[in-house]
Structures are given as structure tokens and as C-alpha cells.
């Protein structure tokens, strides 16, 4: 029983990060109908930012979110302005290929700059854990989850309560109608991509103390983010949050009860099942 509870809780903690990456992906998809295959590479950039800020300036990885989020926001906005903007009306396949190209460029630039060595960011609390009535939770993952929850809450507040947030959601609901209402949909695209990238960057900063950091780490995150987003329903932010936690738990349970080599396989199998049985996801409207 303790083992079950332990793995469910660990799953929820890591699921928070998946949710963060997925929310970024779904935000970009919602506003621009572009599936960003470079989302994981943006996480990778966030991890390296955090790593170097830690090594050179000694800033704690969890505090460095304050640096990585704006940096990734700028990178995302720049990518949107210069590249993504030009394919908004192109075939979805071409949009996907463009973002795959961006991902290849990012991961290979990282390889040129930082070599393909695996790097480890070790802090004083990296391997410590917190006891909670017979269950032990890893301290960095716990911090990571708390910050994730705070960022997600802030994002909800921004989208629901502010005017800009309203404009973003309006653009996602109906691009043409939003434009007729005076929303500058081009700006919303830049903003959405910047926000999506900033969320990926935050996720990168938060997992930096627990994951190996290397140039190809992104593709695993990209795939997981797709699973999360499709499970929750493409374009649904609440869905992506829920999907992230569910996938985290599914991964953790299959890792505990089937074997750690099989956990990703279980996640992709769930993904295929969702695509086949309910492609609109748990909370999405059908767009098939």
C-alpha cells in the first residue's frame, strides 16, 4: 500500500512538469493551430540556461526560473516573428516540418556549443528527501512541483482575469471573430509562442537538478508533451494540466509494477489508445 501511494505521489510530482510543458504546447496550438515539434528542445535550452546560470553565477536552479522564463519568452517570440509567422496558412505538414527543423537546429547548436557530454547539476539538496508518514518524496521534485503549481496558477489568473488573457483566449476560440473585435491576432500569436516557450523554459529549469542535461534530451520531452496534450484534448489548458498529472502517474506506476524499461512504452501505448478511442481527448472538442 505504501509502495502504491509512494509511486502515485511521485508520479503526480513529475506529472506537474509534464503538465507545464504540455500547457505551453497546447497554448501555442490553441492560438495558432501549429503543433510545435521543437517544444522539447525549448525545454533543453531552459535546462542549459539553468545549468550555466548555476555554474557561472551560483544561482539556485529553482530561483533561475526568473531568468530562464524571460529568456525563453524572447527566444519563442523571436522564432514566431521570424519563422512560424510565415507558415500560419501553410499545410499542417509543412508547419510540423518547420518546427522539426527548428528543433534540429536548436539541439545541434547546443551540441556544437556544449558538446554531447551528459552534465549533472548537483545542489546540496539534490539527493535529499522529505518524509511524510512512511512515504519519502524527493526534495527537488517537491520544490519543482510547488513552483509548477504556482506558475500554472499564475497562468490561469493571467488568461482568465486580464484583458490580454481574454484576447489570447478569444483568438484561440475564433481567430476571425477575434480579429473583427479588434484583437491584434498577429501579436497574440507572438505572445502565445513566447508564453509557450517560457513555460518550456521553466520546466527545463525545474527538472535541471533531477535530469541529465545533454543536447538530445529534448525529443523525449516533445513526445511526452504530445501525449499529455492529446490525452487532455488539443487546445485545452485544463486538459493538458490533467493529462500531465495522469501521464506522470501512469509512468510512475508502470515503472514500479512492470519495470523501468517499460514505462515509456506504456505511456506511448496509452497515447495510441487515446488517439484511437477518443482522439478529441478527455476535455477537448472534436476537431477531427
Amino acid at each position: 500500500m505504501a509502495v502504491l501511494l509512494q509511486s502515485v505521489l511521485s508520479g503526480v510530482l513529475i506529472g506537474g512538469v509534464y503538465a507545464l510543458i504540455g500547457v505551453g504546447l497546447t497554448l501555442i496550438f490553441g492560438v495558432m493551430r501549429v503543433i510545435n515539434f521543437a517544444q522539447g528542445e525549448l525545454v533543453m535550452v531552459g535546462m542549459y540556461c539553468t545549468f550555466w546560470v548555476f555554474v557561472l553565477l551560483g544561482v539556485d536552479p529553482f530561483l533561475s526560473v526568473v531568468v530562464t522564463m524571460p529568456a525563453l519568452f524572447l527566444l519563442g517570440a523571436l522564432l514566431q516573428r521570424t519563422l512560424i509567422n510565415r507558415v500560419l496558412d501553410a499545410l499542417p505538414q509543412n508547419q510540423i516540418l518547420l518546427t522539426i527543423g527548428i528543433g534540429l537546429v536548436l539541439s545541434n547548436l547546443a551540441m556544437l556549443a556544449f558538446t554531447s557530454d551528459y552534465r549533472i547539476l548537483s545542489t546540496s539538496y539534490s539527493s535529499s528527501s522529505v518524509g511524510l508518514g512512511g512515504i519519502r518524496l524527493s526534495t527537488p521534485l517537491l520544490y519543482c512541483f510547488l513552483i509548477t503549481a504556482a506558475i500554472t496558477a499564475a497562468l490561469y489568473w493571467f488568461l482568465v482575469k486580464t484583458d490580454v488573457g481574454h484576447a489570447i483566449r478569444a483568438t484561440a476560440q475564433d481567430r476571425d471573430a477575434a480579429q473583427l473585435m479588434g484583437v491584434n491576432v498577429r501579436h497574440m500569436g507572438v505572445l502565445a509562442f513566447g508564453l509557450g516557450a517560457a513555460l518550456a523554459g521553466a520546466a527545463g529549469a525545474l527538472v535541471a537538478p533531477t535530469y541529465y542535461i545533454y543536447p538530445q534530451v529534448g525529443s523525449a520531452f516533445t513526445l511526452k508533451a504530445f501525449v499529455v496534450v492529446v490525452l487532455g484534448g488539443m487546445g485545452s489548458i485544463i486538459g493538458a494540466t490533467l493529462g500531465g498529472v495522469l501521464i506522470g502517474v501512469a509512468e510512475s506506476l508502470s515503472g514500479t509494477y512492470i519495470g523501468s524499461g517499460w514505462k515509456d512504452l506504456c505511456v506511448y501505448a496509452i497515447f495510441l489508445l487515446v488517439l484511437l478511442l477518443k482522439p478529441s481527448g478527455l476535455l477537448g472538442k472534436s476537431r477531427m
Binding site: R86, Q93, G101, V105, L112, L275
Partner: protein
């Protein structure tokens, strides 16, 4: 006829190359080129003609590679029989997968194709008894190829691989020609343009797409096992990894998707770039691939071939 004569001349020239080129490195480049052409053409059947952008073709490539290797290693089945068993396995797997994933469209299909390839990669990684897991399999010594008692080749030089690669590339090009001109080819192109309209005209979309995938997977598996024996070593990430799939897609996109000549041009461009860079920035040839795909999508979405023919047409119109 007009295209056949220069094509035949090109083939004759290529076939004569090993007679005066002795450098193994030059032959190696040609073999890589043949592999690239064959892969691009294989993907083109389902990605180009049918418009189904699979980013999971490494699955069929890897089944071809692992199938032939395991058959040789475990039951000592010679490659020139084992390859066909591996091809058949790959087609069966592809039909099963196609039956499921072709219900999905657009980006959903792309995502499903990636997931399938990842599942197969993880299976290969985890079934250690069969595949030796992440350590991979080193090719056993190949039995010499004999015909009526006479040894044709003992596989110790690159020349047999050169001719087999050439034959394979030509075969894949011929398959593309045949598909493009067949009824299936017209069905596929109709489905690519508008699946619902095609369906309402009586074209069976799922059946046609599955037929295209079966052809494509068979060719891809053939190339996969050839490439595996040429390299002599396989491991899950190398043959099932997403890089293989992306390379296949890029070959077709860069040259010109949905055309028979496009993947040939794309393979020439990609092989020249990656070999040209190997001496300067060894590992980062994928960086240039990335830049290339961005440029192609933004500037010439119909690939080099479409770009060139558009320029020629414009020039002709001006004159």
C-alpha cells in the same frame, strides 16, 4: 521515351564507375547515396503520393535490419533469404499499424506514426534475449555468395555493395514510377488532395493508403537490411531512432515531394552536405539539415525540383 534514354545512360555510367574508381571512400559515398535515394523513394510512396506524412518509417527500416540480422544469427539463415523474410515481417507489421493509424488524419497521423516507431524501438531495447538490447548486434561473417559452385563475392570489398545498392535504388525508383502511373497512384493523389471527395467518388481511402504503406514499408525494410549488413552493426537507437525517419522525410521534402526525381535530388544534396561537413564539423551535419529544411519550407515548399522548374517556367514566360 524522352526520359528513359538519359536515365539509361546515367545508369550505364554509374554501373561503370567501379571500373575506374578504386578509392573505397568514393565508393562508400556512392553507396550512401544509393541508400539515401532508395529511402527517399520508399517514403515518397506513402508520404508523397498519398500525402500521409509518416515520421515513423524507422520502424520498417529497423524491422528490416533486425529481422535479417537475427535470422542470420539465431537460425543461420543466409541474408539473401533472410532479407525477404524481414521484408515480409515488416509488411505485416505495417499493415497492422496502418489499419489502426490510418483512421487518423493530418497531425494526429504524424503523432501516431512517431509513437508506433517509439514503441517498436522500446520493444527492441527491452527484449534483450532476441535483440541484445542497447548493446546491439555485430554482424556475423557473411557466407560468400555462390552461384553454381563459383564464388561470386566474399563481401570483402565495397564493389558488391555498390552494385547491390545501385540495383536497390533503381528498384525503388521503378516502384515509384509504377505506383505513380497505376490506378493506385491516381487514387493516392486524389486522397492526398481531398480524402472526403475521393471517398465520395468511390475510392477506398483506407485500403489505398494501406496498399501504399505496404509497398513503402517493404522497400524501406529492404534498404534497412542492406544498410545494416553494409555497416555491420545495429543497435535500437541507430535503426529505430527518429533521426532515420526524419532523414527519410527530409530527402523527399528537400528534393520535391510527390515526384519520382525529387528524392534522388534530395539524396544527392543531403549526402554531399553531410560528407562535406564530416571533415569540418563532424557531428553537426544535422544542424545543416535543420537549416535546410527551414529554408526549403519557407522559400521553396515544393522542394529544389519545384523551385528549379518554376524558375525555368518563369524564364520561358519572359522570353
Amino acid at each position: 521515351m524522352k526520359t528513359l534514354i538519359p536515365l539509361a545512360m546515367a545508369v550505364v555510367v554509374l554501373a561503370l564507375i567501379p571500373l575506374w574508381v578504386e578509392s573505397p571512400y568514393a565508393l562508400h559515398i556512392f553507396i550512401l547515396l544509393f541508400i539515401g535515394i532508395a529511402l527517399g523513394e520508399s517514403w515518397n510512396v506513402v508520404g508523397g503520393f498519398a500525402g500521409q506524412y509518416s515520421v515513423g518509417h524507422s520502424a520498417w527500416y529497423g524491422i528490416g535490419a533486425y529481422g535479417a540480422f537475427i535470422l542470420l544469427q539465431k537460425i543461420n539463415l543466409a541474408p539473401w533469404f533472410g532479407v525477404w523474410v524481414a521484408v515480409a515481417l515488416s509488411v505485416l507489421a505495417a499493415l497492422a499499424v496502418g489499419f489502426i493509424t490510418f483512421r487518423l488524419r493530418g497531425p494526429y497521423f504524424v503523432l501516431a506514426s512517431i509513437a508506433v516507431a517509439e514503441i517498436i524501438r522500446l520493444l527492441a531495447l527491452n527484449t534483450k534475449d532476441l535483440t541484445n538490447g542497447a548493446e546491439g548486434i555485430l554482424s556475423p561473417d557473411l557466407p560468400p555468395l555462390k552461384l553454381g559452385g563459383a564464388v561470386i563475392t566474399d563481401w570483402n570489398s565495397k564493389i558488391p555493395y555498390f552494385y547491390m545498392g545501385l540495383a536497390m535504388a533503381l528498384f525503388c525508383i521503378a516502384v515509384n514510377f509504377a505506383v505513380k502511373r497505376s490506378k493506385l497512384g491516381y487514387y493516392l493523389q486524389a486522397i492526398r488532395e481531398d480524402q472526403d471527395a475521393a471517398h465520395s467518388l468511390g475510392i477506398p481511402p483506407t485500403l489505398s493508403k494501406n496498399a501504399a504503406l505496404a509497398i513503402s514499408a517493404a522497400c524501406t525494410a529492404l534498404v534497412g537490411s542492406f544498410a545494416a549488413f553494409y555497416v555491420g552493426f545495429i543497435e535500437p537507437q541507430q535503426v529505430f531512432g527518429i533521426d532515420v525517419s526524419i532523414q527519410m522525410v527530409l530527402t523527399a521534402i528537400i528534393g520535391g515531394i510527390g515526384t519520382v526525381a525529387g528524392p534522388v535530388l534530395g539524396a544527392v544534396v543531403l549526402v554531399l552536405i553531410s560528407e562535406g561537413l564530416r571533415t569540418t564539423i563532424a557531428q553537426a551535419h544535422l544542424l545543416v539539415y535543420g537549416i535546410l529544411v527551414i529554408v526549403v519550407i519557407l522559400v521553396m515548399p515544393d522542394g529544389f525540383l519545384g523551385f528549379i522548374s518554376q524558375r525555368l517556367r518563369r524564364k520561358a514566360a519572359v522570353e
